[in-house]
């Protein structure tokens, strides 16, 4: 807000001497009164037009803001749903699922070792069976064959 005459004179005294400050304040006041005497005004139809444009623009802006608000609300709802789903605890496992898991774990541990130990058991059984019945040449032959295969398997030549 503009200074009062007194404030203006005080301000002018910071830059001019006493008489000059009073004179400058008077000059300024006189010149400003010229501006006050003749102030142009806008045509009434222009003001009507501005008001109409403002009304239309305000409605458009309000719709735009409403749309943004809806979009934001929807986005927030999606985010909340996503966070909710992420945090839902898993259901306790059923007995069937657990059983499957145990079987899988058994084989996953060391499947190769399990198979080779089974093969050993079978060959052992065959071997012991053949010594008890030495007359049975077929069984003896099979036993020899298996023994030979085991020897070949244990040999290093095929490893390269």
């Amino acid at each position: 807000m503009k200074e009062s005459r007194e404030q203006l004179e005080n301000l002018l005294r910071c830059f001019y001497d006493e008489d000059q400050a009073v004179q400058a304040a008077s000059d300024m006041e006189a010149a400003e009164s010229l501006l006050a005497a003749d102030s142009p005004l806008p045509r009434p139809e222009v003001l009507v037009h501005i008001k109409q444009s403002l009304r239309q623009r305000a409605i458009a802006l309000s719709r735009k803001r409403q749309l943004y608000r809806h979009i934001l609300t929807a986005a927030a709802a999606c985010l909340a749903a996503a966070i909710g789903l992420w945090n839902i605890p898993l259901r306790p496992e059923s007995p069937v699922v657990l059983q499957n898991k145990i079987v899988q774990d058994f084989f996953a541990d060391d499947a190769v070792q399990a198979i080779s130990s089974s093969l050993d058991d079978i060959s052992e059984q065959i071997y012991t069976g053949s010594s008890a019945e030495k007359e049975d040449s077929w069984a003896n032959e099979v036993g020899n064959e298996i023994e030979e295969m085991v020897l070949i398997a244990q040999a290093d030549f095929w490893k390269g």
Binding site: M1, E32, R43, L47, A58, I59
Partner: protein
């Protein structure tokens, strides 16, 4: 400085997009803002255009108004609009000059003046340099103190005071001189 309660209430309504409140804002400040533009441009059409543009910009920015002096805020927007226009005019003028290869380049952008202008005050203002004229008009229509003006222009208060004082003094002298055209006709 804080605003009067009724103005604060009116501005709150405007922020909510109430068309009636916006209309009231036009009634309250349009005359002063128009005067400001008219005294600087000297052209009725341009001033009306700037006034319309000012209110549209005000509507877009009103939510960012956080209190203080509304008039200062409003006239700062008006001043920026006027300066944008001056810059645009200056660029257009430069382009035109380059195209037509006119060697004479004026340092000050020309302000638009009605050819039928008989307003001596307007003539006086257009004879002043653009910056001084703007300071005078801003002080008068925007009701700005010298402190506010100097803050707006980022210059010492003494500089602003001196520019306005010199400008107003010149204006008063020109106004006191007898009308040259009248003398020519008699």
């Amino acid at each position: 400085m804080s605003e009067q309660p009724e103005i604060v209430e009116l501005l709150d309504e405007c922020k909510r997009g109430n068309p009636d409140a916006l209309g009231r804002l036009v009634e309250l400040y349009a005359a002063r803002c128009y005067g400001y533009f008219y005294r600087l441009t000297g052209n009725r059409e341009v001033s009306e255009e700037l006034l319309s543009e000012l209110y549209m910009r005000l509507l877009e920015k009103i939510r960012s108004f956080e209190g203080g002096s509304f008039e200062k805020w409003l006239f700062t927007i008006a001043s920026n609009l006027f300066r944008d226009r001056l810059r645009k005019q200056y660029r257009q003028k430069r382009l035109l000059e380059e195209k037509t290869r006119i060697a004479e380049i004026e340092s000050e952008p020309e302000r638009e003046i009605d050819s039928t202008l008989s307003d001596r005050l307007q003539q006086g203002l257009t004879r002043l340099d653009a910056e001084t004229a703007e300071l005078i008009v801003l002080r008068f229509y925007g009701d700005f103190s010298f402190k506010e003006l100097s803050e707006m222009r980022s210059e010492p208060i003494g500089t602003t005071l001196s520019k306005v004082h010199r400008g107003l003094k010149k204006l008063k002298e020109w106004m006191e001189q007898p009308d040259e055209r009248k003398q020519r006709t008699t």
